[in-house]
Point group: C2
Chain length 235, copies 2
DNA sequence: TCCGCAATTATGTCTGCACATATTTTCGAG
DNA sequence: CTCGAAAATATGTGCAGACATAATTGCGGA
């Protein structure tokens, strides 16, 4: 019937998206088979496949072998957070970036108990505390532990001018990382470093990273007042 | 030389990833052309293309036409947050889900000033406040505004048993949404509803959604004590 | 009736080939 | 020497066909 002749996978995706949004295909409905859509659109099945795969990745469709494809019941909201270097984040906001090393210890005790960070030799970590500034004002307090077993250079690295945040990203690969975002009240030390009142709500970002199952580093980023993590979703 | 014969795009991706992690290909380096890799791996160029495209999406590679492909300088940290239904989130944690409508107003004033939410007819919004519980304890306070111009059914919808969170997701499509995560101190009302002390650090999630440029809804989710947003990244 | 093996079938992926597109590079005109 | 058009080239995408894989279905035997 239709002489749509879409031909490009983006075109197919757009048309399918339109049918979902217009409720021609309702949530939970099964949609036509790839082969049928290919015939309708006048393109190859591979092209339809590419489009549907993309929409499935975006959470709009659910696909199962042999069963077919259906419109997702609850479009799984999915936000992509960019986690830039703190320096780049500050510079991108048009502010002057400043950095200051507050402390570095070689044989530090294990960090505060953190879910998902079961270290083997917890007694010999490198512990670095550093402050990132934006336009002279405290921006982020970086509280980092590094496992020297995974990162031998960490013990001798000079963190006085380049932050661990940046140094690690450039020098140490990782295979997996976990992220946890919390709202915590500022403890006295944190409050002092960030120049806020004790107990202030602090947006806290914990990240643990591993290389092939071995712990590499754990960092807690304590953000200054009114910090916002933003993300936009196009789906 | 190598008789790797990888054949599958996941295999190619794994091998390329290995070379990046082992620093055989260093950040900033250009890697071999698709055609060359295809010859080395003994597979079709399309297969290599699929693998490299996937790695580029993950932020490990940067590709430009005619220029070739190179290893990303700063593996762009990128976390994917799943934003599930609150009900599903609670149930997934093995807790009993409870829901209670606290208030519904038809011609509400515009919400607190929110960046990115410039409404046209700000004086006629539907305003719903509802509480989500987990095991009887307050879990999330949902503070939502809906634009009836975009969602006519919102005025008559019954939010006493099904949350706006869930109702909107099932009934209203959207094209774009923006997300902001903050840490805010609990104001008296919020503290009362969530059963926490006033001033407690609250993990706050603001989301604004549009359909083809028209505002649909704005919601502020105020999370109870110790709430954590988690995400794991495999790259 | 119930269980498990086998046929079925929709999606997943690979291949080889072709052409499109975006850059870079080259090279000639002024 | 400079500028701009034309050639070169790596990635992006499309096509048709084939086989792989995972569910589902249905059949047959106990």
């Amino acid at each position: 019937m239709s002489k749509l002749e879409t031909k490009t996978w983006q075109g197919v995706r757009a048309e399918v998206q339109r049918r979902i949004r217009s409720r021609a295909w309702k949530p939970g409905d099964a949609i036509p088979f790839e082969a049928d859509l290919a015939r309708e659109f006048g393109c190859a099945r591979a092209t339809v496949n590419r489009a549907l795969r993309d929409l499935a990745e975006a959470g709009l469709l659910e696909r199962k072998r042999r069963s077919g494809t259906r419109v997702a019941l609850h479009p799984t909201g999915r936000a992509v957070l960019d986690i830039p270097l703190i320096r780049k984040e500050v510079e991108a906001a048009g502010q002057a970036y400043g950095y200051e090393l507050l402390s570095k210890a070689l044989d530090a005790a294990p960090p505060h108990v953190v879910a998902g960070m079961e270290r083997s030799d917890a007694a010999h970590l490198v512990h670095v505390v550093a402050l990132h500034r934006a336009d002279e004002r405290p921006h982020v307090l970086e509280d980092r532990w590094i496992d020297p077993a995974s990162v031998p250079d960490a013990a001798t690295a000079d963190f006085s001018t380049k932050s661990p945040n940046e140094w690690l990203l450039e020098n140490v690969p990782f295979t997996r990382s976990e992220l946890a975002i919390r709202a915590l009240p500022a403890d006295p030390d944190t409050a002092g470093s960030l120049d806020v009142a004790e107990g202030t709500a602090i947006l806290t970002l914990d990240r643990a990273t591993w290389l092939e199952g071995r712990p590499v580093t754990f960092v807690r980023l304590l953000h200054g007042a009114d910090h916002v993590i933003r993300s936009s979703v196009t789906a």
